[in-house]
Symmetry: C2
Subunit: 132 residues, 2 copies
DNA sequence: AATATAGTTCAACATATATTGAATTATATT
DNA sequence: AATATAATTCAATATATGTTGAACTATATT
């Protein structure tokens, strides 16, 4: 696991570890397609596999990754418990949306503050003069 | 490259291929830290490496990935072209934000529409009755 | 009780990519 | 001209993870 050591001097507006974890899971073509189908309310393993032409064991694998980061819920059919239904975890999705929006907010972009390069030698003194 | 074949029957609200590509690049701990620093206006390879305790060649590698998907811009120092300055591509970031927000919008979540499982045998006929 | 069904788990394999150290490029300094 | 500097490129390696086929679990049906 990575040491987010720069957090001390350069704090990010969100939990970077959690954000990375979730993005990693979502940044996979087939999982994003599965996620898209779940957004539409499709839920059993079989239908996901049929729609995407992916074998059920692979669907299982990808769903378990999505579950592991809390983005997807599971539920067994009350009548016939062989069927398993998957759904989007709305709270987790809202959390993800908020975190993503906060971290990748274009308004966070700051202009260059040169601490290296030729200008770094010049500008600091100019600033200190300007301040007085 | 994956065939986004389900696009026909289950269209996503955004270009999934581009979104996956960019998320893949961002879903890496060190790159997210680099990105965070760039948001603060830090830009040369050397300072990124110093802050994050990462060798310059590895910084180069990660920056090239970020550049490859258009999220980061490059510029050489006008006075001393040995220095290279990196910055966030604001337009790309705005595009990414919009796409992410559209795809992961919690309001897109639909209730289950059973097409398989025990209830699938019952409900369709009920619907057709209800429609008449 | 035997068989069928929905789904998961497992081990083996394939593939992608992060990491490392050395070599290279291009420019600036002495 | 020789050396130093900032950064990139390259080949080799390590690591993570998607994919596959077979075995397995649990429940339902006949």
């Amino acid at each position: 696991m990575l040491n987010y050591i720069s957090e001390e001097t350069h704090p990010a507006p969100v939990n970077l570890e959690l954000l990375t974890e979730r993005l990693k899971v979502l940044a996979e073509p087939k999982r994003l397609l599965i996620f898209n189908l779940l957004m539409e309310g499709v839920q059993c393993n079989c239908e996901l596999g049929d729609s995407l032409q992916i074998p059920p064991n692979l669907i299982s694998h990808h769903l378990s990754k999505l579950r592991a980061v809390g983005l997807v819920n599971v539920e067994r059919d009350a009548v016939d418990s062989r069927w398993v239904y998957y759904s989007i975890n709305r709270a987790a999705l809202e959390e993800l949306n908020a975190a993503f929006g906060a971290f990748f907010d274009p308004n966070r972009i700051q202009p260059r503050q040169p601490k290296c390069g030729p200008q770094a030698l010049v500008i600091p003194s100019e600033i200190s003069v300007a301040k007085k």
